[in-house]
């Protein structure tokens, strides 16, 4: 039997250094469960500290791997740790850490189950980190489910609130539906190419000239499956309700980290697997991008709840992020630009959006509301929070010197670098949308700076230390990257997925 090559099995070569970040997070999860089992009700606060420390420790091997700078390939190319993966793993860890900071007081004071909460949060982060390395349809799918299933539960964490249950259920049903579509698309792609490895799929698809309809079907289904995850229009309908109903720290996690994971999946399949078939996915991405940003912005204009507004703003931002992919197939140079601009946007988006949610959580501690009107006159009693929020909103609107401008500039840059009419038209669509978007960002600013306090209660807001720390981190990133974008591009400069192209 052993001589038969089909059954020959040798242990895969495990590069423990490359796996170290994942191992650290996994160990932290186990520690969390064990500590939760054996500690009394009163010392449950330890959970958030353990989760936070675990994530910080996981950053160490990422730093050493980045310093080492060697691309590590495992499992026949299904799992790759390169610069691209490291930058994104760092993003997920940082975003996870900030979410832990945002959750600390919210979860502790809300009488929720802390040990389980952080365990699920970490397992979702783990899924994202795997996603950054996954170069194989199956490992991408496993990573995606590892991201999503804990997130379904987290969204419904406020068990007694009907809206939280609705949030969780809606998210779950739509997520499962998306997974089914995705799997169907994957099965078609596998059927055509005979491989689940993205690099091999790329080689096969590029050489196929016939079977155009079935290839189109496969690619479109896979991409639509991910479009649900990144809440691209018209697959966005779950996002606002889920965001509004879920606990706010979880919302920030879904809006930033989970969405980024969806984009990472799209980047992986698009640049490694489907790159040769840009004739199929470029038009799809163009339409998705234009539709997503326009619809997201227009609906955001009408929102009266800050979280819902940020949800629709997040949808619009997803449209901006999709935009470079609409021209990514023009040439390898443009493809590289597009990939980098998406990564840059994801990094900056994480910083500014998490910051905005941090302010919302801080303000809600006093007002117990997320209505836009409850932000009235914030400047008169919480000037520091107002200035922070102003920085984040200007960043989201893409106005220098807050970092968002550079993210938008990168998007514009890759659209213009394609040099095609469609690229320029989409750039103008993005430009017009940026103006529309300021309509609602500006309204919130106006409410904070220029309106009266609705109930006349001007007692200052007491912001807990963990939230202050989260704000310091996010403001620092937003300003530093805005003033010195070179610090950021230093890390994203070498990011590429083309080394795997055959």
């Amino acid at each position: 039997m052993t001589s038969d090559p089909v059954f020959a099995w040798s242990a895969p070569n495990l590069d423990l250094h490359a796996l170290a970040p994942l191992i650290v997070v996994t160990v932290t999860m186990i520690v969390l469960i064990v500590v939760d089992l054996f500690t009394s009700e009163r010392s449950r606060w330890a959970a958030s500290s353990i989760a936070g420390i675990g994530l910080l420790v996981a950053a160490v091997p990422i730093a050493t791997l980045a310093y080492d700078g060697v691309d590590r390939v495992m499992f026949d190319g299904a799992f790759v740790v390169d610069r691209y993966a490291l930058v994104l793993q760092a993003l997920f860890i940082a975003a996870g850490y900030v979410v832990v900071l945002l959750s600390t007081n919210y979860i502790a004071e809300g009488d929720y189950w802390e040990g389980e909460y952080y365990t699920l949060l970490l397992s979702s982060v783990l899924g994202m980190m795997v996603m950054a390395c996954a170069r194989d349809l199956i490992s991408i799918f496993v990573a995606l489910e590892l991201v999503s299933i804990p997130a379904y539960m987290l969204a419904a964490w406020r068990k007694r609130g009907a809206d939280s249950n609705e949030a969780g259920l809606k998210y779950y049903l739509m997520g499962v539906f998306a997974s089914a579509v995705l799997l169907y698309g994957m099965s078609i792609v596998f059927g055509i190419t005979g491989s689940t490895l993205l690099a091999e799929i790329g080689g096969e698809l590029g050489s196929f000239v016939s079977a155009q309809p079935i290839i189109t079907l496969g690619i479109v289904f896979v991409l639509i499956g991910f479009a649900f995850k990144v809440s691209a229009v018209p697959f966005h309908t779950w996002a606002p309700d889920t965001y509004e109903g879920a606990p706010t720290p979880v919302t920030s996690f879904l809006a930033v980290a989970s969405k980024a994971a969806g984009f990472v999946a799209i980047l992986n399949v698009l640049f490694v697997g489907f790159y040769g078939r840009s004739d199929v996915w470029q038009p799809l991405m163009w339409i998705l991008a234009a539709l997503t940003m326009t619809v997201g912005n227009l609906i955001a204009l009408r929102q009266t709840n800050v979280v819902r507004m940020l949800a629709y703003s997040g949808i619009a931002q997803a449209g901006y992020i999709l935009a470079p992919l609409a021209v990514a197939g023009a040439s390898l140079g443009t493809g590289g630009d597009a990939l980098r601009s998406v990564v840059i946007y994801l990094l900056i988006y994480a910083g500014m959006n998490l910051g905005a949610f941090a302010v919302v959580i801080a303000v809600a501690r006093k007002t117990r509301s997320a209505e836009i009107s409850s932000f009235g006159g914030l400047f008169s009693y919480a000037p520091a929070l107002t200035v922070c929020m102003t920085v984040f909103l200007f960043s989201l609107a893409g106005i220098p010197p807050a970092a968002g401008w550079f993210a938008k500039l990168s998007i514009f840059g890759s659209l213009a670098s394609a040099g095609t009419t469609w690229g320029y038209v989409l750039a103008v669509v993005v430009a017009v949308n940026s103006v529309v978007a300021f309509g609602y960002y500006g309204r919130l600013l106006r409410t904070m700076w220029m309106s009266e306090v609705p109930d006349g209660d001007r007692t200052p807001i007491r912001v807990p230390a963990s939230l202050v720390f989260a704000l310091v981190i996010t403001v620092a990133f937003t300003i530093t990257w805005g003033v010195l974008p070179g610090l950021l591009t230093h890390f994203t400069d070498q990011v590429t997925l083309f080394s795997l192209l055959r």
Binding site: I399, P400, K408, L409, L415, V428, A431, S434, T489, T492
Partner: protein, 519 residues
Amino acid sequence: MKDFLNSWGISLAVFLPLVGATAMLVVPKAQEQFHKVVALVTSLAVGVVGILLMTNFDYDASGKLQFVVDAAWIPMINARYIVGIDGISLPLIALTLLVVPLCIIYSWNHFPEPRNPKAFLILVLILETGMIGTFVAQDLILFFVFFEVVLLPMYFLIGVWGGEKRQYASLKFFLYTLFGSALMIVAFLALYFLSDEIMVGGRMMHSFDMRLLPELATGISAGAALWIFGGMFMGFGIKVPMFPFHTWLPDAHTQAPTVGSVILAAVLLKLGTYGFIRIAIPILPGAAEKWAPVIGLLAVIGIIYGALCCLAQTDMKRLIAFSSVSHMGFVMLGIATLTDFGFQAAIFGMVAHGLITGMLFFVAGSTKERYHTLDISRLGGMLKQIPHMGWILGFSVMASLGLPGLAGFWGEFPAILAAYDPAPGLNVAFFRVLMVVAALGTVLAAGYLLWLYQRVGFGVPKEEFENDPHIHDVSFTEWVAWTPMLVLIVVLGFFPNIIFKVTDGAVANVTAAVNWMGG
């Protein structure tokens, strides 16, 4: 000293206001005196740096960029921190450095509701950084960043400290300008990718360097250049503002606090016209030539339309705002001729308009403070009741209508004259028609301004204000804030060469690019 200025002078002038603002940020807002003093000292210190730069400026080589700093900033896209001053930017920087401290002095005891001098002055200082930065930036991305930084403080100045409809006005101001600058950045990027590459550190890269782009952009096809110029036209034209994009201006001016109006009129509008002279025309002279008739036509429509609107206004501040539309029309007409003479007139017009309209807004603000209204029909007899204010208003009105011997004349008259003989390649007959219509605009200007003065200055005070104890003549801080501007209006009126000599060499570079293209 010279070495220090060469390497740090400009950066110091740009970022010193931010240092002051940071210092103010950490002190509680109850310490009003501290905030006022720090803001004033900071703006004066910036002024001193500016004076040092100006005294060390080589006026014989005003066409050459001086005090240039060129450092890496965003290596990935080869955007660099390049700053420098030449004869085009020097007068505008001087104007900015003058106006900001005067505004701070003027606000000393005049903080509009809801007061909060700390926030107000921090915003003014951030505004100063943005304005100076825009005038010194020599890299398109750096320029864009400063151009946008200006927006934020002005949005808050109008929105928080403005009049009754402040929220509407501030948002309108912001959305208009944002729309323009969003298209402008797309145009910049198209320019970046379509222009030739240069060797940077061993690899070929595109460049945002405004010094190199005129040469690198020669390869761009005429069609693409027209589109790119169009994008820039939207960005700069809205800021100027040109007809038909001017509708944000009357609202913003009317609702803004006095200091906001003054800075808006004196400096912010110039960012647009400066952009045309500095970026759009020298880099894309071919497209500029095709766009020139459109610009000229819109400029003249703006002159006449603005003047007619002035005649219909009942609010003094709104009238001055529309007169800005009209006056900036002359500046744009000068630019549209694409001649040496036209550009010089435009730059002079920018400075003159900044001083004169700034002065008018100061007077309007002080009038509002005394009478609590700017309704022209309710005002009257200013010369009788508060003669000094009345005379200052009269002086500013005369300057604004372009009386020879005062600064306003040298902005309008040469612009009209330049249209008689536009750059080769432009339709001479068309521009002469524009010239005649623009000249009619000056008559209208005299009409609405003198009529304003007649209604506000002459006659006897209305009954409701006759014995109002609040109405007092020009106060000490007002004298301090206004004297330099009044003196400069006269000095520039008699010695226009102070500016013409500086701009001469620099403008020649711009026209050289145009003529090279046209010839």
